[in-house]
């Protein structure tokens, strides 16, 4: 088709938080989703391009909002876009379970004078609850197209595609005057004429929207007169809008929307029993990760060990290439592959808690206590999920709406010992202690981690406010309680797959690349290439870069009576924590199974406890570091990583000193 016939339009997808905007955008496109970071914020806005016949449509999936006068820093991104962006029209995605709130937002979009399509999502859930919405009556009252939809199963998407093309043909009616503001009308008209702005923008100027300060200055005299006559304009406008919402809801909803809290709601939200119930549920969650997925990890490891990689490599003549493939690429790849079940489990649980509405129930009774130790309540789930694997837990913090809370959570996740770290720690514990005491020592990383989180969240919060001016105050949260739902649909599966895939691709490539780097450090030294023999020869390994780095680090650990081989192998922890074990084996010239015996003879109990404390959070792996960088930026990641190292070192010295006194 000739390109001159192609028309382009830009449509904003606006809606309440959790109303299903992204589901609708995915359902519509099925093409590709590009995530763009807008300047000054880490909130991502999904930009989706799709073509319908000869029409090129750019859909902008904006963060959820309740109104155009958002107070949350992250919602500002959406409202700025709506007020300033050059849109041809809007799709307002509303939830039938929050009909009043949807209409309240819809009115504000209509007043902006652009074509608006209302998608009433989750019609199936509304019907299940006996909420019958007369869509035809609503169309008549509002004078706009309304599509009843179940986005998760694609219902209503065909009609929506058709209506989008009508925006391009300008055949969608625009209804800006849905509410008569009475005495304010003359001021709205005056501001609108002065600024040559749509009605909705004039109302926002009169209300004192912080994003429109410049416009308010230009219309200063009109605003003053309006305030003189009406008083608090924001209160007046909100009241008028809610009166309208109330009147329309009475007309179109056959059964009034009632508070519909489930039995589980009454247990989880109860201030007295809710804390215990939430903790029990969260503990069960972590147990699921530990217990259910562990055999699967072992199974995959066994499957991988059955691959005769040594025999396959016999024909590779060059020992350097052979060692590179086996020791660097294959070893790291097999570790990544064996970790997939953990990552999948973490992704599954995070996605379920986020999409079902459980996240609010679980964190509500704990909020006050979490605040006392400096943690945002919304971050708790991600911290717990971090026990499975830090990478998906960190990357999924993008769903936390407040930027301060998101940053603090993302910065705290690396302090949580992941499965790989716990594996190394359990091995050290098993080597030093009788089996009946191993469980007691396994509490140590969690206590250390809690201390780390408590100390660092308090230290980092003032730092955040110091270096990021926009985060000077934590904005109070208030939102409509979403209904509990079971979110098992194709979009849920897609989300879980997305988290897992992200780990496989991004983290996998990084782990393999850094393993290769560590391999180079292990087979070469200041004198040049030593060769793969260094990996198995105790004398040759002393001439490698890795040994030299180990010697440099060893003075730090010498007072703790930790031998250089152990401190050098900790370097590998920056690649992936499990590699610490294989590097210990290499540096001691033994098998991985023989590491336990080596540790038993090399470490005394106080040193072992200090080492366990240090390994708990001295550094996340490279994949977590890169993910952390994407959420909090390079500067904060560097600061946090240094702080982690120093705090881990300080705590290990304290533990060592206490252990010396006690033992």
């Amino acid at each position: 088709m000739d390109d001159k016939y192609v028309r382009r339009i830009k449509i904003g997808v606006v809606g309440l938080p959790n109303s299903g905007k992204s589901t609708i955008v995915s359902s519509l496109s099925g093409l590709f989703i590009r995530t763009a970071n807008y300047p000054g914020t880490t909130v991502s806005i999904n930009v989706v391009n799709l073509t319908i016949k000869n029409l090129r449509i750019q859909l902008i999936d904006l963060p959820g909002i309740y109104s155009l006068s958002s107070e949350m820093p992250d919602e500002e991104v959406a409202t700025k876009e709506i007020l300033r962006g050059n849109y041809d029209g809007f799709i307002v995605v509303g939830s039938t379970l929050s009909l009043q709130q949807t209409i309240y937002l819809l009115v504000q979009l209509l007043e902006l004078g652009k074509p608006v399509i209302l998608v009433l999502n989750m019609m199936d859930l509304a019907r299940k609850q006996g909420i019958n919405i007369n869509v035809e009556a609503m169309r008549r009252r509002l004078g706009i197209p309304i599509i009843p939809s179940v986005a998760a199963s694609g219902v209503g998407m065909g009609e929506l595609r058709k209506l989008i093309t009508e925006i391009a043909q300008s055949s969608i009616a625009v209804n800006t005057k849905v509410i008569d503001y009475g005495p304010l009308e003359k001021y709205i008209d005056a501001v609108s004429a002065r600024l040559n702005a749509p009605r909705g923008l004039a109302i926002e100027v009169l209300k004192g929207n912080d994003l429109l300060k410049e416009e308010r200055l230009k219309a200063g005299d009109i605003v003053s007169k309006a305030i003189e006559e009406i008083g608090q304009i924001d209160v007046f406008v909100a009241r008028k809008r809610w009166d309208f919402v109330s009147s329309i809801t009475k007309d179109v909803v056959a059964r009034g929307v009632q508070v519909n809290l489930s039995k589980l709601d009454y247990i989880l939200l109860n201030p007295k029993v809710g804390i215990l119930a939430s903790l029990a549920l969260l503990f069960t969650l972590a147990e699921v990760i530990f217990l259910v997925l562990n055999p699967l990890v072992n199974y995959i490891s066994e499957l991988l060990s059955m691959i005769p990689i040594g025999e396959l490599m016999v024909n590779v003549g060059n020992p350097l290439i052979r060692s590179f493939i086996m020791d660097a690429v294959w070893n790291s790849t097999s570790i990544v592959l064996s970790f997939i079940p953990y990552v999948f489990g973490v992704a599954l649980i995070i996605a379920f808690i986020e999409d079902s509405g459980l996240i609010i129930r679980l964190t509500f009774p704990l909020e006050k206590w979490l605040r006392r130790i400096g943690l945002p309540s919304r971050g708790l789930i991600y911290l717990i999920a971090g026990v499975g694997c830090n990478v998906p837990a960190t990357s999924s913090t993008v769903a936390i709406p407040s930027s301060t809370d998101r940053l603090i959570t993302a910065l705290m996740i690396p302090y949580i010992p992941c499965m790989a770290r716990l594996l190394v720690i359990s091995l050290i514990a098993a080597a030093i202690l009788p089996s009946q005491l191993t469980g007691v020592v396994m509490i140590l990383p969690f206590v250390t981690s809690l201390i780390g989180v408590m100390v660092m969240s308090r230290l980092l919060l003032p730092l955040l406010t110091h270096i990021r001016v926009k985060l000077t105050a934590r904005v109070p949260y208030a939102y409509e309680l979403p209904q509990l739902i079971i979110p098992i649909n194709r979009f849920f599966v897609k989300k879980v797959w997305h988290y897992t895939y992200e780990f496989l691709v991004r983290a996998g490539i990084l782990i393999v690349a850094f393993s290769a780097l560590m391999w180079v450090l292990s087979i070469s030294g200041p004198s040049g290439l030593i060769g793969p023999e260094a990996l198995t020869n105790q004398t040759l390994i002393r001439s490698t870069w890795l040994s030299l780095i180990g010697d440099l680090i060893s003075p730090i650990f010498k007072p703790l009576n930790i031998p250089w081989q152990l401190s050098a192998s900790l370097m590998y922890g920056y690649v992936f924590k499990e590699v610490i074990l294989s590097s210990m084996a290499v540096l001691y010239g033994t098998s991985e199974e023989g590491v336990i015996n080596v540790l038993h003879s090399a470490l005394q109990l106080p040193s072992a406890l200090a080492l366990i404390t240090f390994i708990t959070f001295y550094s996340p792996c490279i994949a977590t570091l890169v993910t952390e960088t994407r959420i909090v930026g390079v500067r904060l990641t560097v600061i946090n990583t240094i702080a982690q190292l120093l705090l881990a070192l300080a705590l290990s010295y304290i533990v060592y000193a206490i252990a010396l006194l006690v033992v």
């Binding site: 309740y66 009034g256 201030p271 006050k368 409509e480």
Partner: protein, 89 residues
Amino acid sequence: MNQVEDVRVNELPSGSVARVSRLLIGRLRDLGIMEGSLIRVLFSTPNGPAIVETGDGRPIVLDSDAASNLLVTPLSIPQRHRYRHRYGS
């Protein structure tokens, strides 16, 4: 008659009914909590978060900060809380 003092909504026990007297954060208006409107406290923790039901039946979650910034005039307090709850202490 004794004048009933305004209190923060998270000072009231669960089950209380109150009239909104002052909003210290405008965001609540966008959620339908207006000066003069009636609310029912569904769940509340002293100085912590609260969940209130608006006049049209919507449950609104308020975190500790939001709950501390919503001042209300108590209209009714569940019987079991009248003498031993924090309210009025």
